[in-house]
Subunit: 560 residues, 2 copies
């Protein structure tokens, strides 16, 4: 036998999601490679998505979050793991990196054949007055988590700034730990990535659990309050006095090292990669929150800091290094995301209406409501789904789902449908698993397909709000008790329960536009069909008025 | 204006899933049509999938199952509903049907422009001695349900014959009602549609709940027992003495009327239809359990008596009658089905391995295990997934899932993937909704994709059992405590925990085939990669030994 070739030297910078996945895949593919995993922090391969749940106490065992240690990675994957070690420079010509030990400042160089950058992203800390106050936290790693947990123990009131996915998880967990919580969001609704109407249920849930919501107001500065606590001063002039605050304003890519090495970056500082995760230097790959990838829907560059794509990108980088022929290109990201806050979940996949509008893209939208499983089987919970599609070919562009159960399942079906290029006609035909504890013979995903096809084919014309025009006849087809419980804001709305519509249609003026309204958007469609065939020009309020009321407290206003 | 055309006369035979859906869709599309819905039984549009749950008491309100009444269908859909009315003949030339009132025997004729047949299917009652015993029940409608519920109240012991989906639901519900239950199945495993290894968890669950399982034994005859109860005599010679028995042996299409009218039928008596649900007579459509449709995977004719397809087929028949240009052809059926028995769920979509083998089709299979959500988040439950794909193009042919949570979600994702023509490479890239309460950064569906791709690309060669050949080296890479709790049936298995494999590989004979084994099939893959790169010819036991033990009772044998 000939002598073995020199082992391939793979150096990976960043030891959490993308970096750890790259290391594991590389080892499966090449037992002989010299794989070095370098992490600036003291921990590798920890469960970063689980951090809020340890702070709130839902996860009781801190060790459960430390998925691997340097020793276990040595034993299982034969990795050379260097924690508390920063990479301070990349010498691309010499193919080596400079390492600096965080503890003693000592430096050394390490040669690579292939370098994988997985530096992640840093929580945003806008340059506001008082931003360096010690009572302001961000959550990125186990050390942050420990500090926030210690502060929580001593606190009575906590403020979360930013009501995106992480902000909501943090707010829920502080409440779970028994703290008073204020949640501040610059946009007029929580979950700014979602369309406003799809976040109403979540807002109701936060209020039901006595989380104070401050919407449409931004943080302006931090200072000492008169009582010695922290004063969060908002743009409106309002001050929230609190024991400590957590910044959950999003992240920015941690790419100073890549920039200094002259790697090509995107407009917001993300590392540019091709579909195999190669940077502008073919010996250097990058993966995870620090990179820019292709958006699945538009093909445009985008950055989506999420755990699922990060893991797959890291795996793909290793795959392409070690078997470039077999590796499959990255398909792009959908931005599928979900959050649970107490009993309510909400999430999205693909594009939202506000994003489509901003991009000037043509689209159609419907909103449907149904139960998460057969209504006659005990425990059926309400579910709301908004579907967006491309008029020219019926392809699904995006979906948002919120409700009390089964939200994740519908998002996953719709994410799969988008990746498969399915159309609204296909959604109508999906054959999903049905037994009474799990779904309905016509699942809400089928219903969304039916409704979209009816819209496309002109059987119904949806509107997403009641136009503010007194010339329009608003016909409320709900039963009178429901109308009494939740009257429409239009005092001149005409209540004709659907069962009476055929006989009472003569009460309406055929020369005036009609908008039919019901609780969930289904009966209003039925009514629109009846009236259209009687010669009326009619619109149906898509999704009904469900988005405006918490379905569990039908007769009560939102808590103050 | 010209005079209105004569209203279209649509007659629908059968008023449950397909028939009721057809009527509703027809009315939305045509306010003026004369729609008559004829049902032999006393009830229309009832929730037939809910019947077992009323018998067992999980659904307490009988009225919840009667979704609609003739009066409500008149009010909501302006339907002419005729219950307790049989259609005894179709005069295709004259386009009229003969009706006979079940109560008084009176007959009349009714003309149609379009006829939709949705007669459903009858429970199989094989011509065995004693088959007409009054203590033998089948479950098709509310009347059957009421009779079984009354019998249940008086019974101490109930026997269910047939362990398919309905049989399992019935067995569970009788146990839920506090009865002793024996479940008899001709095949050697429950859920005969599934591959054997995928039903083991379900069998353990039945035994955990003290349901007596009699597998691999068929019913031969029924007689009076010595104590006056019912004696179910089995093919093995064994007798099960019981208070009453329910036959859950499957169904046959209720197509005597269609046959008498000369409509073309399939080999097992199902009505043949085209992709728009048209029978061999273009004025007659058919939908639901009585028809033969295209199998989505093979394109061959098949019959799948399930509620979801029935509803969509009925809707499509009406669509094609009233808007033949816009109606989209039926995509075919996947046979997606699921059942929950106490805490365990199991189901399938597309084809199984045993079906592929019977058809002589080429396929590959892997089985993977994982938790239904992140392991570090409390409440993670085990999940097992078997994936089958087509070697030539990587397309997914079918999947089976069983576990304690999240089974329905994965089946739905995989059903959507099959309908979208996705490949194993696509599964590896699916971007599913991830937050710790809902899933993992790499979901079990991704894991199945990874494993299939690794198999396709030759990185691992799976075996689905340990070959019975003493020349093979079985290497058990589990930690010693797990080995002690569940030793392999092979006494000569070599236990080398994975962490020691690199240093102890020298203990193995490079000239003999190695099969690596672990609990879940993941570490055995890691081990196979290590050994393959050290020059061994190696196979990995796909799915590990999980299929052989209930994961919740690791150290206990199955109940006797």
């Amino acid at each position: 036998m000939s002598a073995s070739p020199a082992p391939l030297r793979i150096v990976i910078v960043g030891g959490v999601a993308a970096g750890a996945s790259a290391a594991a895949r590389a080892r499966r593919l090449d037992e002989s490679a010299a794989i070095t995993l370098i992490e600036r922090g003291p921990d590798v391969s920890f469960a970063n998505c689980g951090l809020p749940y340890f702070i709130g106490g839902e996860i009781g065992d801190r060790a459960a979050l430390a998925v691997q240690t340097p020793a276990s990675l040595k034993q299982l994957l034969n990795l050379d793991v260097r924690t508390s070690t920063a990479v301070t420079a990349i010498d691309r010509a010499a193919r080596q990196v400079t390492l600096q030990h965080v503890t003693d400042g000592a430096t050394e160089t390490l040669a690579y054949d292939k370098l994988i950058l997985a530096p992640g992203a840093q929580p945003l800390r806008p340059p506001l007055p008082g931003i360096d106050d010690a009572r302001l936290f961000s959550l990125r790693n186990l050390g942050d988590m420990d500090r926030i947990k210690a502060a929580t123990t001593a606190a009575a009131h906590v403020t979360v700034i930013g009501a995106g996915f992480i902000g909501l998880e943090m707010a829920e967990q502080f409440r779970h730990a028994g703290k008073d919580v204020t949640l501040v969001e610059l946009q007029p609704h929580v979950l700014p990535l979602l369309d406003p109407a799809m976040t109403r249920l979540m807002e109701d849930e936060l209020r039901r659990h006595d989380i104070e919501l401050v919407l449409g107001d931004g943080i302006a500065s931090f200072a000492d309050a008169a009582d010695g606590r922290l004063a969060c001063q908002l743009a409106s002039g309002r001050t929230v006095t609190t024991d400590f605050a957590v910044l959950a304003l999003g992240v920015r890519p941690d790419t100073a090292l890549a920039a200094a090495a002259g790697l090509e970056l995107g407009p917001r500082g993300h590392i540019k990669v091709d579909t195999f995760m190669r940077t502008s230097d073919p010996a250097i790959y990058a993966a995870g929150d620090a990179i820019e990838v292709e958006d699945f829907v538009s093909g445009d560059p985008c950055a989506v800091p999420l755990g699922g794509p990060a893991n797959r990108q890291g795996r793909l980088a290793a795959d392409h290094i070690l078997r470039p022929v077999e590796a499959k290109p990255f398909a792009g990201v959908l931005g599928t995301a979900i959050v649970r806050v107490f009993d309510v979940s909400a999430g999205l996949t693909g594009w939202t209406e506000q994003r489509l509008q901003r991009a000037g893209r043509d689209y159609r939208a419907v909103t449907v409501n149904d139960n998460h499983h057969a209504a006659y089987y005990p425990g059926a919970k309400p579910l709301q789904l908004k579907l967006l599609w491309e008029p020219v070919n019926g392809r699904i562009l995006g979906a948002q789902v919120t409700g009390l159960a089964g939200v994740d399942k519908r998002l996953d079906v719709l994410a799969t449908a988008i990746m498969g290029g399915l159309t609204i006609d296909d959604l109508a035909q999906l054959e999903l698993a049905y037994a009474p504890p799990f779904g309905s013979a016509k699942d809400i995903v089928n219903l969304a397909g039916f409704t979209a096809v009816n819209t496309r084919d002109g059987l119904v014309t949806p509107v997403d709000h009641i136009p503010d025009d007194p010339a329009i006849q608003v016909v409320d087809v709900r039963p009178p008790p429901l109308v009494a419980a939740h009257p429409l804001p239009r005092a001149d709305a005409i209540n004709i329960p659907f069962g009476q519509l055929r006989s009472r249609a003569g009460e309406l003026d055929t020369t005036r536009l009609v908008v039919t309204v019901c609780a969930l958007g289904k009966t209003s469609y039925f009514a629109a069909r009846v009236l259209a065939q009687k010669g009326f020009d009619v619109r149906s309020l898509t999704g009904g008025i469900r988005a405006h009321f918490d379905p569990r407290t039908p007769a009560k206003p939102p808590a103050p």
